[in-house]
């Protein structure tokens, strides 16, 4: 099974003076179980695309197939619950969606809506709150007494608590400190490795390099590239043309190269960079 978009168009405010096109003729196929990054500039259509995975927006024309569902312009709002149970979305700044009196109740909101019985919902909510580092003695407290970073974690736990097959993330680590960012991203990576599909919108190329398998590049509502991470960053000219960055390690290797220090492969992470630098130095020393 896979995720398939076929000629998907989306038009905002159709038939009003405020009409504009959010997605233009988007087609792609994603393999289940992969970690997919969606990149592109602000306003390129990333968030619009993400809302289609959950049928929060339905294509104006075209067809989407995922998790056993067909979504077209004619899809009605009935039966969408079972789709949304399978496709979870963590929106940007998800801490803004918390509402319940206690942290635990908020994390149980999704599971209960999707028909889990109360015991299982509680068990799942607790499991994910714990995994996200929320201390047990806080579960009965109001989420609004937490710091922003902790509220973010509660909101993420609230989505993971129904363990969606496909997990969509819209810049989940924006505004977090570097340590918190790493913690959260590694939780998502682990979730993918345990047999789920993860789709991540991000501006951070270092995260793309470190966590993703495949990349979708959007520009002005169009899909301009669908490829593997290694392939994407192998081509710095193309990236520069589209005002996209390389990961920090690759950028550094590029500067080294321009100054006469050539590495065999473009390193994507700091570990790879350090390895190839030291390897090269050892080769010379021998």
């Amino acid at each position: 099974m896979s995720i398939e978009f076929k000629n998907v168009n989306y038009i905002y405010n159709q038939g009003t003076p405020f009409e504009y096109q959010g997605l233009k003729d988007i087609s792609f196929n994603l393999t289940d179980g992969n970690f997919i990054a969606i990149i592109g500039h602000t306003g390129s259509g990333k968030s619009t695309l993400l809302q289609h995975f959950d049928a929060l927006l339905k294509p104006t024309s075209g067809e989407i197939k995922l998790a056993g569902f067909d979504i077209t312009s004619k899809t009605t709002n009935k039966n969408l619950k079972s789709l949304r149970k399978k496709v979870g979305i963590v929106f940007q700044f998800p801490e803004n969606q918390l509402f319940a009196e206690t942290i635990l109740k908020d994390a149980m909101f999704g599971p209960l809506n999707f028909g889990m019985d109360a015991d299982l919902a509680e068990k799942n909510a607790k499991k994910w709150l714990k995994r996200l580092g929320i201390k047990e003695e806080l579960y009965e407290q109001s989420p609004f007494d937490l710091s922003g970073g902790q509220m973010r974690r509660v909101a993420i736990a609230g989505v993971l608590a129904y363990e969606p097959e496909i997990l969509c993330l819209d810049e989940p680590a924006a505004g977090l400190d570097p340590v918190g960012r790493k913690e959260i991203m590694s939780i998502f990576k682990e979730y993918q490795k345990n047999g789920h599909t993860v789709i991540l919108i991000t501006h951070e190329m270092d995260d793309v390099a470190q966590y993703a398998d495949d990349v979708l590049v959007l520009q002005q509502a169009k899909l301009i590239k669908h490829t593997t991470v290694a392939d994407l960053f192998e081509n710095p000219e193309w990236l520069a043309e589209h005002y996209l960055n390389q990961p920090h390690a690759a950028r550094f290797a590029q500067t080294l190269k321009q100054n006469g220090f050539k590495l065999k492969q473009t390193p994507l992470t700091i570990e790879q960079l350090a390895k190839s630098i030291s390897k090269k130095m050892r080769e010379y020393n021998e």
Binding site: P17, Q51, K81, I89, N96, Q97, F99
Partner: protein
């Protein structure tokens, strides 16, 4: 929701856009008074012609105006029909119990219909071509005399302009929250009244909390930018009369004179 046109501004650059909001507001109110001068076919035709001229002068699509009238059309028709059946006088064409259709009834119901539609069209001309902020500033100027009654017009105007500034932000916020809760399986259109009312809580609570955050942030930013309550402030935005406003007033003066000449005395 995005199809409701009353009270909405659509950017444009026809002559009406260039008129001062104070002039437009005064003119719109004056128009309502003028309508009551009309009392025969000629004067109602004048009013209708004048309104359509204003509508065309905006250079906006006629469809947009129809969208403005449409939500009220049943109410207007209902009122007209009441007039039709309950007005007596002149030749009676039909009669049943207390209901009758008379000459005056037909005339009156048509007049009422025209009156309503023209008032809606003219106020739509105002709101489509004037930003809410301009309307608020125009109103502020019109209400300036209240200053002498110790009404803090300046502060009310600042509050109004900030409120208007944050309408789109809060609309965005609402959509985001609704989407987030929908994604978590919330259903807003399902079940009975109680269930639906309960379903609103996950939207209202975050919306309230987020508005509070915005308000606090905004107060902090305003204070650090030197805002002091009750202190004298200068004004950057000023309204200026231009030749377009004289054109505006000239047309209304002409209409007034014509109405006074042609109405039944």
């Amino acid at each position: 929701m995005s199809k409701i046109i009353i009270g909405r501004y659509i950017p444009g650059n026809s002559i009406i856009y260039k008129m001062d909001p104070r002039g437009k507001i005064i003119a719109a109110f004056f128009f309502i008074a003028l309508i009551f001068l009309a009392n025969n076919w000629i004067t109602y035709s004048l009013i209708t012609l004048f309104t359509f001229a204003a509508v065309f002068a905006t250079k906006l699509k006629i469809k947009t105006f129809w969208q403005g009238v449409r939500p009220l059309i049943w109410l207007i028709l209902f009122t007209s029909v009441l007039q039709l059946f309950f007005t007596t006088g002149g030749k009676v064409y039909w009669h049943w119990g207390i209901l009758n259709i008379s000459h005056y009834g037909i005339e009156n119901s048509i007049y009422i219909f025209i009156r309503f539609v023209m008032i809606i069209l003219m106020s739509t001309v105002l709101t489509l071509t004037t930003t809410p902020l301009e309307i608020s500033e125009g109103m502020e100027w019109i209400l300036t005399p209240l200053k002498y009654l110790k009404v803090p017009i300046g502060q009310i105007a600042l509050v109004m302009s900030i409120a208007l500034r944050f309408v789109p932000t809060l609309m965005d916020e609402t959509v985001k929250i609704m989407n987030a809760q929908r994604a978590r399986g919330a259903d807003f259109n399902d079940g009975g009244l109680v269930k639906r009312a309960k379903a609103i809580i996950p939207i209202l609570v975050p919306l309230f909390i987020n508005s509070l955050t915005i308000a606090i942030d905004l107060a902090v930013a305003m204070e650090s930018r030197g805002y002091r309550e009750g202190e004298k402030r200068s004004r950057y935005r000023v309204l200026k009369w231009s030749q377009y406003d004289w054109i505006n007033f000239a047309f209304f003066a002409l209409l007034t004179v014509l109405l006074l000449i042609f109405r039944n005395h």
